[in-house]
């Protein structure tokens, strides 16, 4: 299914649910435009000392729909605790991920193909994430500081879905935007993704099981259509 269809589907469901909500309008955010609006940086290890491999992605698609109490402005007073988040769906196309050098230059098409094969890109073209719970740990002490949350969600990689918990920072920006960042660590074996085995200079190397994923996703408020006027 296309990402846009998924987003549109989520959006339509929310529209249908709106009349049932009593307390104020929810706000929907979708990926903000611009080159630097989303970044994915994955670092992994290998069974050779000092070997680190890097993967970069440039597009995160998806939407997040939050209740009226969600921090939308810098410095907005919000009570710590469980947040009213109706839905969050995030999609990353596997084939948008590229192996890179540490400085961000492309590394190897061969490595990319091996990665796509391990992630079963043809069968499962997208990595998806669905947030199930978001809890504000504490209100930020400064106006330009991010809100720090604990999050729990369902991450699907290569067709395997697992629950994942991680701290998430959300920084409200001007222009009705939110910058969402996080750095989860993931065990690839949890998703039945076996180690990548390659020969480098004639020496066989095997990638490590745990990878560190840094993401930065900037979303922008999406205007909701006005509900039809009642007779």
């Amino acid at each position: 299914m296309k990402i846009r269809t998924l987003i549109a589907g989520s959006f339509a469901l929310l529209m249908a649910a709106l009349p049932l909500q009593a307390a104020g309008p929810n706000v929907i955010y979708t990926s903000a435009p611009g080159t630097n609006s989303s970044k994915i940086w994955i670092e992994g290890t290998a069974n050779v000392i000092h070997t680190t491999w890097y993967v970069k992605g440039i597009t995160i698609a998806g939407m997040i729909e939050v209740g009226p109490g969600f921090p939308a402005e810098p410095g907005q007073a919000v009570t710590p605790g469980k947040m009213d988040v109706q839905a969050t769906n995030v999609f990353i196309r596997v084939r948008n991920l590229k192996s890179v050098e540490k400085d961000g230059r492309l590394y190897s098409d061969h490595m990319d193909n091996v990665m796509y094969e391990h992630l079963k890109a043809d069968t499962y073209p997208m990595i998806t994430y669905r947030l199930t719970e978001l809890t504000l740990k504490e209100a930020p002490k400064a106006k330009d500081a991010p809100y720090v949350f604990d999050s729990t969600g369902m991450l699907t990689v290569g067709g395997v879905t697992k629950s994942i918990s991680m701290p998430v920072n959300i920084l409200p920006l001007e222009g009705n935007k939110l910058k969402i960042t996080g750095s989860p660590r993931i065990k690839m074996s949890d998703y039945k993704v076996g180690p990548v085995e390659l020969a480098v200079a004639g020496v066989g190397i095997k990638s490590g099981d745990e990878v560190k994923l840094d993401f930065e996703w900037t979303v922008r408020q999406r205007a909701l259509p006005r509900p039809a006027a009642s007779k």
Binding site: S37, D109, L198, V200
Partner: protein, 474 residues
């Protein structure tokens, strides 16, 4: 144990960077080159103390890649001798699919269509541009015909690979480059294939590292005994085929062949020529009415008083084609896709020498350079396919992969953002997509400007200054 550095040359890299856009194809030229490589050249290099610099990734067996995902549909426009070579090369790129071929002469189409059954054919390139299923075109028409096709192709949203030189006038080259610059959702690649060649990428890093010392001179040659004259039973076709022999259309040897050596040298020197002095003579092929010199010399002046001497002839094939860069510590020679370093006796030791393989040559010790040693490669495997490691293959492979990534990035961006966010999409495609090495519109434009001025100098037999503003697009 000593190990011989001058390895048997894989056929893969027989095509010199300078051996392009000519009537004889690499296969016709192979045996002589093979002999030269296997015998005299290799022996000569050994005797002179040559150290081969090679890109391990290119030299070792190519990965047995299982390419999945959709193939990029590519149309080839222009089916002359070089166009056929490009067509066959596109067909070898795993991620590409030849979707259509085009030439304004039906016989040229028929000749190629035999090898590509089922592929769409047409005589008017606009038929291809109107086909939304074909996102990319390779333009291999005569140089003076590039402009209209490129501009129309970009306007149609096609990703464009345009052979170098881009045009035979600065005005046309500028128009092409400006159109490419403006078409932010389209990839434009100039056919300076050395920019995509892994070996040259490696040599560039080596030179930029300062290992050759201060550059004092550069020199390239292209020598081949070949008429450049093509025959056809159709007089109109014959005239059109021989556009290279007409100085009102052709940039001659320095343009059609020398652009690749000039681009390579300019890249090594990280500078553009400021002036060029040239001479040319029509000495051998005087019977067919041509007015383009068959033997030329051009001396390019680079900043810092570094000179690049280029000579080419259609009258003698001795020593074929190669590119030299001379530094105070070492000279580097590239030929037939391979590179050797000749160190000066007083050159300093390089750090990696301690770890590198060493071989004894006559009076000197050779040092093996292994580029990209950390890149993944399959263990074992077969010898590389000789036809898939040429600079042209690398250039078309990178074009295919980059264009595919552009398409994928566009699709993803539209999925993730508002569909009408054209500005954001343009920004994403022009700056956010990671691209493999390839000559862009500015590289193509600037090299074209330099060879146009060089051809001007050759035809006039004088020095021609190249003002810096000529290299600027707008």
């Amino acid at each position: 144990m000593n190990r011989l550095i001058l390895k048997p040359s894989p056929k893969a890299r027989t095509k010199a960077l300078t051996d392009m856009n000519v009537n004889d194809t690499p296969s016709q030229d192979f045996k002589r080159r093979d002999f030269l490589k296997g015998g005299s050249v290799a022996s000569l290099m050994t005797l002179l103390g040559g150290v081969e610099l090679f890109d391990q990734a290119a030299a070792e067996p190519a990965p047995a890649e299982d390419v999945s995902g959709p193939k990029l549909k590519v149309a080839v426009i222009g089916l002359g001798p070089w166009g056929r070579e490009m067509l066959n090369t596109v067909a070898r790129v795993k991620e590409a699919e030849v979707a259509a071929i085009c030439d304004n002469f039906p016989s040229a189409i028929r000749r190629c269509a035999k090898d590509f059954p089922g592929v769409a054919t047409c005589e008017d390139y606009k038929t291809i541009l109107g086909n939304q299923d074909i996102p990319a075109v390779v333009i291999a028409t005569p140089t003076h015909k590039h402009k209209d096709i490129v501009l129309d192709a970009l306007k149609s949203g096609k990703h464009v690979y345009c052979e170098a030189p881009l045009a035979n006038t600065i005005e046309d080259a500028r128009a092409i480059a400006l159109a490419a610059k403006a078409a932010k959702q389209c990839l434009f690649q100039a056919g300076l294939q050395g920019r995509s060649d892994k070996q040259q990428e490696f040599v560039l890093k080596f030179i930029r590292s300062g290992a050759v010392g201060q550059t004092v001179l550069a020199r390239s040659q292209w020598h081949k005994k070949v008429s450049w004259h093509a025959q056809s039973s159709n007089p109109d076709r014959e005239k059109e085929l021989n556009w290279r022999l007409d100085k009102s259309l052709s940039l001659g040897l320095v343009g059609e062949i020398g652009c690749h050596s000039l681009d390579l040298t300019a890249r090594f020197l990280n500078a553009k020529p400021t002036a060029v002095t040239g001479f040319g003579s029509l000495l051998v092929w005087t019977e067919d009415g041509r007015d383009v010199p068959d033997t030329i010399q051009a001396n390019f002046e680079f900043p810092g008083n570094v000179l690049f001497a280029y000579d080419a002839t259609l009258g003698n094939s001795f020593d074929a084609a190669y590119d030299m860069l001379y530094g105070t510590n070492a000279a580097v020679m590239s030929r037939d896709g391979k590179t050797w370093m000749f160190k000066e006796v007083d050159s300093p030791l390089l750090g990696w020498e301690v770890y590198a393989g060493k071989d004894q040559f006559y009076k000197d010790t050779g040092i093996t350079l292994l580029a990209d040693a950390s890149k993944p490669k399959p263990a074992g495997g077969q010898a590389p396919d000789p036809l898939t490691t040429t600079p042209l293959y690398s250039a078309l492979e990178n074009f295919t992969r980059n264009a595919s990534d552009m398409i994928q990035a566009k699709k993803s961006y539209i999925e993730a953002h508002d569909a009408d966010d054209v500005e954001g999409l343009n920004e994403q495609l022009s700056t956010g997509v990671l691209l493999r090495p390839a000559a862009g519109y500015l590289d193509g434009f600037q090299t074209t400007v330099a060879v146009i001025k060089a051809n001007e100098a050759i035809l006039a037999g004088r020095r021609v200054a190249i003002k810096p503003e000529l290299y600027e697009l707008a």
